[in-house]
Subunit: 145 residues, 6 copies
Amino acid sequence: MKKKGIGKIALLLALTDVDVEKLQHFYESKNYVIFKGQAGSMDAKKIVAAIETAASREDIIRENYHEEHALYHAIIEALSGYCRGQVMLGEVLRTAGLTFTIVRGNLLEDDISSGNWIAVVLYGQIGSPRRGFEHEAVGMGIQPI
Amino acid sequence: MKKKGIGKIALLLALTDVDVEKLQHFYESKNYVIFKGQAGSMDAKKIVAAIETAASREDIIRENYHEEHALYHAIIEALSGYCRGQVMLGEVLRTAGLTFTIVRGNLLEDDISSGNWIAVVLYGQIGSPRRGFEHEAVGMGIQPI
Amino acid sequence: MKKKGIGKIALLLALTDVDVEKLQHFYESKNYVIFKGQAGSMDAKKIVAAIETAASREDIIRENYHEEHALYHAIIEALSGYCRGQVMLGEVLRTAGLTFTIVRGNLLEDDISSGNWIAVVLYGQIGSPRRGFEHEAVGMGIQPI
Amino acid sequence: MKKKGIGKIALLLALTDVDVEKLQHFYESKNYVIFKGQAGSMDAKKIVAAIETAASREDIIRENYHEEHALYHAIIEALSGYCRGQVMLGEVLRTAGLTFTIVRGNLLEDDISSGNWIAVVLYGQIGSPRRGFEHEAVGMGIQPI
Amino acid sequence: MKKKGIGKIALLLALTDVDVEKLQHFYESKNYVIFKGQAGSMDAKKIVAAIETAASREDIIRENYHEEHALYHAIIEALSGYCRGQVMLGEVLRTAGLTFTIVRGNLLEDDISSGNWIAVVLYGQIGSPRRGFEHEAVGMGIQPI
Amino acid sequence: MKKKGIGKIALLLALTDVDVEKLQHFYESKNYVIFKGQAGSMDAKKIVAAIETAASREDIIRENYHEEHALYHAIIEALSGYCRGQVMLGEVLRTAGLTFTIVRGNLLEDDISSGNWIAVVLYGQIGSPRRGFEHEAVGMGIQPI
């Protein structure tokens, strides 16, 4: 079996509803720091804030600008993929409800030489602010940290 | 267990290395039409062409403009997420090597009323045209068909 | 005389000040469903909402996500053309006052085989929120429905 | 009847198949300089070049950078509207076949105080490089000159 | 020593903390009209407004749409460079504090034949709304006037 | 006198024609690693390659993906500012001739706690591939390294 990348780990955790804790513990034993949370808003900055707050509270990043910058860029890249182009939600009358995962550790599983990276994945629904008028979206950003 | 969306089906198939056929048959039994392939290029149009060709050859879409338009927009949205913004590869000296999945069927598993949709997922590596100087990326586009 | 496309019908209706009803009836007799309205705002989402509301009220689209999705994407493409790039109005201190047309029917006049499509055209003024400091803009989005 | 803007003049000329010369002469008598041509390519720069060449050859702009800059920006804005976002054709496996109009004169018909402007309109087809797999698009750029 | 362009004049004035007046007087003696100011906001439209207001108040542009349009496009291009892509600040939870310069005059120093242009430069900090979590950014827009 | 940021150092070096070596030695004595070069092309990827090659040859970055990724993103951000939006040159019939600077060191002069960053500045001309039909542009990207 091939070594997984940090992105696949973050994606699988975001997509999985069963055995999340088991998967999380497995990768934590390989020195990944992991958080899975939820956010929903018509306001992109609230989603950014929810992820930044979680990352600080869970000690995934240290309180310095170097690491905050890496996290911020990973979030914006993930949002850009989620929105498929322009990062806009309420401004164009749409809303997002999503699960996010933050994973910090080696770019490649079991490969210390691949260095320390951070991955942010967003997976959820995007659409009109009206129940059932929405479909799935995904976005991922990966940055060295 | 919650009903899966067509996007999650396409994502899980793109991410899985084991039991792909089993997963594929399971969703085919629920009336999804599925294809998983590979593409790699510095040239985004070759990736578009590879996915369009596969979709035609595997009869995932009918040979009319209505359906080709839906597929094309799903591909471009997926590429836009994969590139996180501007759809550019070689133009900015980067390359992509990826697995793609095309899934056609109900927006929600076991829910005929959710209508007929097409999902395209891209998952793979993006980076400098130099071995090991690349990280993972993901993109997904979903369109009614 | 060449067959007109659905886009040209929507454009001519948006541009015409005289004989609008005559033109509208002519195309309605060819099974097009047509609406012409006005919207103005510094807030792009209000323009989206005005067009979506008109389309529902006038029964141009059915109340399902499949059709709402086609309409929404046609509106966003039209706005993207109108704004020439990023969909932003008040965020960059500009405002829009416009006429919109929604047309549903065959992609090509008198050609049933061309399938059922929806076109949204925006034509009006864009500029500084100050009388006379504005020029014309146009945008069109076309989607299969 | 309301005064027409330079954009509406350029749009109507691009859309009209009948009485083009009559319409053109009418606006030339109001001191507009007008050209209508055709361009088609998978290569956006060939469309830019076709319009720039026509504008020079027809003496719509003078051979200085001030005027060339205004024309260039009007073309790029028109292309951006035509492509609805990123200016890309062949790069994402699509092609354009279009009619363009260039109109130079007052921003508002019969209103010298509105100053001298240039409008570029593109109207035509965009789509897959395969006959019939294409729909209409429109784009317009307006700049002071 | 090579002739400076209007852009370099605007950039040097924005970057300089010492001898600003001396530099300003030197270029004013060469018929440049110059203003240097400050703006800071999470709201891009407030930065646009601050620069437009300064340009009017300091008589850098005349009160007509022709000139206001040139200024507006120079500002938006400068903001687009400052934001490196999408013009967004608070919408993605970041803020800007910057020095701006507006310079009007010949495109090239001492070269009347190069025509009359306007340059807008933004130089300052961009980042998280949290002291010290920010880095420098620059943007410049140049338009014929 | 205020501490300079790494961006201002890179900008001043890019803008200065006189005393470049003196300025460079001054900042090298403060532990900055600095390179100033030239690049010109209608092809954005050649500009990317020129900067990446210079950075490797001059040992500004180490040969690992972590550092190459930081440099690459700084280059793309600088190009995005230079192009004011979409990173495109020849694709839209324009060309760039520019001076670039790469500076590596503390985010703030004489402040080790501000960490290690890399700044890339592009300053030069952008325009039509025709002598004299071009104006200045600037772009800067800054990344933690």
